[in-house]
Amino acid sequence: MKTIVLGIGNPILQDDGVGLHVIDALRQRMNNPMVTIETASTGGMNLLDMIRGYEKVILIDAVKQNDSKPGEVKRFLLSDFHTVHSSNPHDVSLSEALHLAKQLGEKHLPSKIILIGITVNNIYEFGEHLSSEVASAVPTAVALVLEELKNT
């Protein structure tokens, strides 16, 4: 199965960049030419361009959930998220972008999209470092991605 692992995040907004930190750690752990590993600091429509042509997509991103402590790692399916808006008011959400692509008859869309989400703390202050709770969650997230890749 043609697979892409895509870490998403803003590298200068502290915990928001956790997806990028997971990718750094992952690159040291694996070397599989069948799996593309990429990072992105962007949203809906641009992400769609990046995942087009892959069968399986593993996204790694920061998650803000009111009922969770920072540093929890969770596996989601894209369908777990229902949203009208993107978190960025100038873009659409990935679900919306995918829906649009389907509507337009796009044939090369992934059949499986998995999200590895890390709950975060500080995303409103500039900085390149993760908070300690979130940093300690990185190995867990890496393990979860590797586990996910076994099934491809």
């Binding site: 590298p11 009208v84 008011p89 100038h90 959400s93 989400g117 500039f126």
Partner: protein, 485 residues
């Protein structure tokens, strides 16, 4: 000594929230849109190598990376006392046109346009690109996707990378254009020009031929008589990449025109005790609270601000459309917030025409694209982001490290106006404690016209920008809450 205590609910924070305060009669006293502010940029920048700023600042915002990249690059030109070669300026401006093309297309079809194309009364779930497809057909949607991608592709060719360019250096750019790339860009630009004209026709058919929409555009809750601001060229025509900052008044006359480097002489920022937001205003006029009119120094930037602050567009097709807009809406300036959408499409057309001029320039493949830098000092760079005037200001030490950095971003420039537009829209739908249907739509339409960016944790899942409107009664007790997932 008198002690002033600030009630916690009057001090605003958080995000994606609108707070409305009612008076004793149950009418709207005040309403505020809360925009999350990213903190610590100055501290973060201190001690960094100045030449890293175009890369760093393009990460500040997932919405306008190209604008930040070039505001930073231009600030570095000034800080290193270097004037880039003519062709470097052309390449930067061409890249910039690509950015305006994709950004304005995205806003019209995905974000602001659905309010009109699908209709302001349609349920929120329909007011999006999918609703637009239902109404206009799949072929239009395919064209939207194609031309948005063309804009992105132009920026990727010139910038060396999609979305976040890496080409801007003090004194020029790092990458020129090959003959093959010129051919590819020419074809894309021609197609974008046709699509821009198509989009203006669509706007005519759907919006301007619908009396109810035109009445809404002209209706009181959406009128704001502020000053207007934008960059202009030497003929006072709109320019995104370079020029002087021009400010016009409520009659369309020039109030002031100044170089970006003098911005602190003309613009001040007001901090209100109840908000973490800063409200910029014109120093020569002064701060009169959140009010419009000649005595209030609040101004508007962005597509409508730019068109109002200029004497026209520098390209023929866009100039024609510029005149048509002002003729149709009763002359200059146009004060209707919803006219931002029309102005945005005229700018889209301009960007395609300007890109054509630049790519057809005989010297565009010249390899003289960088000049050597001088000694480091202080520098200010100004560009027009898609959503308005953007200013970067750096102080460098003798080793070229950042000592101090300051920015005024487009949405901050519009902060006072956005807040007033939200308040006026709320006044239109809340009377004597009665909240009419369509509150969320009407209020959302008021701020969406400005295409604001609310800070930049752009992709944190679940990807929701839930809109919550909290209404407080005159005793500052929560009266009602409306929200939209």
């Amino acid at each position: 000594m008198k002690t002033i205590t600030i009630d916690p609910i009057t001090r605003l924070e958080g995000h994606g929230k609108i707070t409305i305060f009612l008076n004793e009669q149950g009418d709207v006293e005040n309403a505020y849109l809360q925009i999350p502010e990213l903190r610590g940029f100055e501290k973060f920048s201190e001690g960094r190598r100045a030449e890293d700023m175009p890369q760093i600042t393009s990460r500040i915002c997932g919405v306008c990376p190209v604008a930040h990249h070039f505001a930073a690059t231009k600030a570095l030109d000034a800080a290193f006392h270097v004037d880039p070669p003519a062709n470097a300026k052309k390449l930067r401006e061409l890249l910039y046109c690509g950015y305006i093309i994709y950004d304005h297309i995205l806003h019209f079809y995905f974000l602001g346009g659905p309010d009109f194309v699908v209709g302001p009364e349609a349920p929120a779930a329909k007011r999006n690109i999918l609703g637009v497809i239902e109404k206009t057909g799949v072929d239009v949607a395919k064209d939207v996707i194609k031309h948005r991608a063309y804009g992105q592709r132009i920026t990727a060719i010139l910038g060396g990378k999609a979305t976040h360019p890496v080409c801007g250096l003090p004194g020029g750019v790092s990458k020129g254009l090959s003959k093959d790339e010129v051919k590819e860009i020419k074809d894309m630009v021609a197609s974008c020009n046709t699509f821009a004209k198509f989009t203006l026709n669509l706007f005519d058919d759907i919006v301007l031929k619908n009396k109810a929409y035109v009445d809404m555009i002209r209706s009181d809750p959406y009128i704001l008589k502020t000053y207007n601001m934008g960059l202009v060229d030497k003929h006072n025509k709109v320019n995104f990449y370079d020029g002087l900052i021009r400010v016009t008044d409520q009659e369309g006359n020039q109030l002031e025109k100044f170089e970006g480097k003098d911005y602190t002489k003309h613009i001040a920022e007001r901090v209100e005790e109840w908000s973490y937001m800063k409200y910029p205003y014109l120093k020569s006029i002064g701060w009169q609270g959140l009010s419009d009119g000649k005595k209030s120094g609040i101004y508007r930037v962005g597509p409508l601000g730019r068109l109002n602050a200029s004497d026209g567009m520098a390209t023929p097709q866009a100039e024609k459309e510029y005149k048509r807009m002002f003729d149709t809406l009763g002359g200059k300036p146009v004060n209707s917030t919803l006219a931002f959408h029309w102005a945005r499409l005229i700018e889209l057309l301009y960007a395609t025409e300007r890109a054509k001029e630049l790519i057809e320039d005989a010297d565009i493949t010249s390899t003289h694209i960088r000049n050597p830098v001088g000694t480091p000092g202080e520098g200010i760079g100004v560009v027009e982001a898609a959503r308005g005037t953007l200013i970067h200001h750096y102080h460098l030490d003798k080793n070229g490290l950042i000592v101090k950095a300051n920015m005024i971003v487009a949405t901050t420039n519009n902060a006072g106006a956005i807040t007033m537009s939200v308040r006026d829209a709320a006044k239109g739908v809340i009377k004597k404690g009665q909240v009419n249907d369509g509150l969320l739509n009407k209020v959302e339409m008021a701020f969406r016209a400005y295409d604001p960016c609310f800070g930049c944790a752009t992709h944190t899942l679940p990807g929701g920008l839930p809109m919550t409107v909290n209404i407080y009664n005159h005793q500052k007790k929560l009266y009602r809450t409306f929200s939209q997932p």
